[in-house]
């Protein structure tokens, strides 16, 4: 019983915490973000397994995590609204060469982030060349040029 409760509690806690940290936190990982993720994984491991390092416990924890994950994906398929609440939806932040600054402020995105994504993906030099920049559900910024 323990294994299921532990895994369930950690899954929900991580989901809420990563939702709070916003999409961008995971979308474009810097090397520091990567190290931070490793540390979070390390901190989580003990809480997931407790004092029981048996193979059975490890398998039970993994099975529980996968079950919850698949359950959520089925729930998201059934209800678009729940899916949007869990994963968010795409958000336009540049429209016809104009930064949508109120949206950028709310989404904690800087001009530099958008221009970096534009240069990396499309070789774009300035914002006038961008028709749309969109923060996707996975946190990446996609660019559509004019």
């Amino acid at each position: 019983m323990d294994a299921v409760l532990r895994a369930g509690a950690i899954y929900i806690a991580l989901m809420v915490l990563f939702r709070i940290s916003g999409r961008r936190a995971l979308g474009e990982l810097t090397s520091f973000d990567f190290v931070l993720l490793l540390v979070i994984g390390e901190a989580t491991q003990q809480a997931l397994l407790g004092d029981d390092f048996s193979v059975t416990n490890a398998i039970l924890v993994i099975v529980t995590l996968l079950t919850i994950d698949i359950g959520f994906s089925l729930l998201k398929r059934r209800s678009k609204r729940i899916g949007k609440f869990i994963d968010g939806g795409p958000t336009i932040i540049v429209e016809n060469g104009t930064f949508l600054r109120h949206r950028m402020h709310e989404a904690r995105v800087e001009e530099d982030d958008i221009m970096q994504a534009a240069r990396l993906g499309q070789g774009v030099e300035n914002v006038e060349q961008i028709k749309f920049a969109i923060i996707e559900r996975n946190g990446k910024i996609s660019i559509i040029t004019r």
Binding site: V16, I20, G50, D51, F85, G88, G89, H102
Partner: protein, 170 residues
């Protein structure tokens, strides 16, 4: 530059937006950030063990028993407790650790070892050797096994007693 209201209207192309929901998510992120800050501050204050809110000292009315302990514990964690007790000078005396405490916690280490110990209906009886003034100090490390609130007590046989309220987080 577009006004706030113009910006916050749903776009249908190239993606179908739901800005009202997105704004709720952004608000959730902002409130969540404040919540995280509060959690960190409360942790520093000792709400989750070790700190102003958690570390405490209680003394019996007779002044023959003083216990330093943590109010808040985390399941599986180890916390120290220091028990100062006083009996008759040059003689041993007995303290009793309440039953509830023995259910919620297990003793990880005990220094010095008592002269004798016995489990009773009331809890764990430990007989300690006092110094020339009859004072003794017992250092205990408790491992938290239970979950939730534990109201217990420690007493000196034939002397004073203190009540101990502890909470164990999952």
């Amino acid at each position: 530059m577009l006004t706030h209201d113009q910006e916050m209207q749903d776009r249908r192309h190239p993606v179908d937006e739901d800005i009202a929901l997105q704004r709720r998510i952004w608000r959730f992120e902002r409130v969540g950030w404040y919540f995280l800050v509060v959690v960190v501050l409360l942790t520093l204050c000792g709400l989750f063990s070790h700190g102003l809110l958690s570390s405490t000292t209680v003394t019996s009315a007779q002044n023959d028993l003083t216990v330093k302990y943590e109010r808040f514990h985390r399941s599986g964690g180890i916390n120290a407790m220091i028990i100062h007790s006083r009996g008759a000078p040059g003689r041993s005396h007995t303290i009793i650790l309440g039953n509830t405490m023995m259910v919620g916690f297990s003793i990880d280490s005990m220094q010095p070892q008592p002269v004798s110990s016995a489990g009773t209906d009331h809890g764990l009886r430990l007989t300690l050797t006092g110094d020339d003034h009859g004072d003794s100090t017992l250092y205990l490390a408790w491992r938290s096994d239970g979950l939730g609130m534990f109201q217990s007590g420690i007493s000196v046989e034939g002397g004073g007693q203190v009540s101990i309220n502890q909470f164990i987080y999952p």
